[in-house]
Symmetry: C2
């Protein structure tokens, strides 16, 4: 699949870009500045080839061009930038693209702490995005540690909760998530549940701080 | 320790009563009606003795008497009843008791769905309780399946996130949680984080529905 990572030069987006490229997807890293996107793509190709993924494909483009021919567009910008970013990209988004919202409304968006969230009007970042686009929005990857994503030597030992009101889009993203070694995709139900999943990110950040770790994640027991 | 389970005739409270009695604590099941409390205690003793815990101590009392000499008071009533219950028990609570809030503000409290929460004024059920009492409130046990708690043949394979603004009370409840076989206690930080933990319960109820299970729980990875 062709995947565009809007804001893919950031920690989370770059980590996802590496993993998806390693899994054989055509990945485009997007940035507001083409130059930064190109640099990040170059670095990604370098890291991937060091780990034996010589055929991995990572391009760098300005955000608008990055999404223009994507099957799946992943939003990995900071929350404070997400509304403006989506508004700016609306015309460029393919009609049949799936939009994956990875953003989390951490209190940092208003100068606060990363261990707390703020509540957007629609209830979650994902529903905020859905209110701006016609394409199906899927919430996913908020609880995966960027640290683990970027370390291609390790499996990403955690579950990815996937929420959407569009069942087909949800299934596609669940399959995509499981292309990352160690990840199990969990059907998180309707998009409104993203508010729970997003707040778990704040909890995980707090746990990392208290336990002096960097890659704490979640697994659900009893599903097998 | 002497533990009182307010509303201990319900699924969650009864399950916790069994586990704590099996671990050797003195357990008192409380109910609004003494008769129901006595019956539940009798049943608990029966189940415990069937599983080889002949010395387990479970008493039944009316709620007010149940809490009067408790070291730890666990609130396991439905959310719609919690404010009235705590107000009614305030004078009976020992000054040095620890209050453990297990309630979850599920939408069922207002006739809605158990897969959704409502937001109380203080942000969480636990903070609502803390606003009513002087004693330290600890949030815990919301994400443990009642089903698993009641099945003494099985380990309760999940983490219990414990949140409080009182570090000593938090430590006590973390130790208490780990008396349940299979449970690992996690320091969830301040009491305000209970809003996240409580909402995870709604997510877990939805997962149980979607996956046709009864005992789905959570584990945090990367803490070891």
């Amino acid at each position: 699949m062709r995947l565009a990572l809007v804001g893919g030069t950031g920690d989370q987006g770059f980590g996802l870009a590496l993993r998806f490229a390693a899994a054989g997807h055509e990945v485009v890293i997007g940035s507001r500045e083409e130059e930064r996107a190109l640099k990040a793509a170059e670095r990604a190709v370098e890291i991937l080839s060091e780990h034996g993924y010589e055929d991995a494909t990572v391009e760098g483009r300005e955000n608008e061009k990055a999404v223009s021919d994507a099957d799946v567009v992943l939003l990995t910008v900071p929350f404070f930038a997400v509304i403006e970013t989506v508004r700016g990209l609306r015309d460029a988004l393919p009609d049949d693209a799936i939009i994956v919202d990875v953003t989390v409304p951490l209190e940092t968006a208003i100068g606060g702490r990363p261990t707390r969230t703020i509540t957007p009007w629609e209830g979650s970042a994902a529903e905020t995005v859905q209110s701006l686009v016609e394409q199906p929005v899927v919430s996913a990857f908020e609880n995966v540690s960027a640290e683990l994503l970027r370390d291609l030597d390790r499996e990403v030992e955690c579950d990815v909760v996937v929420c959407s009101d569009d069942e087909d889009a949800k299934r596609t993203v669940m399959e995509l998530a499981e292309d990352i070694p160690g990840v199990r995709a969990i059907d998180g139900g309707p998009l409104a549940n993203a508010r729970i999943v997003e707040s778990i990110t704040a909890l995980l950040i707090g746990l990392n701080q208290r336990y002096g770790k960097k890659g704490i994640g979640i697994r659900f027991t009893g599903i097998e």
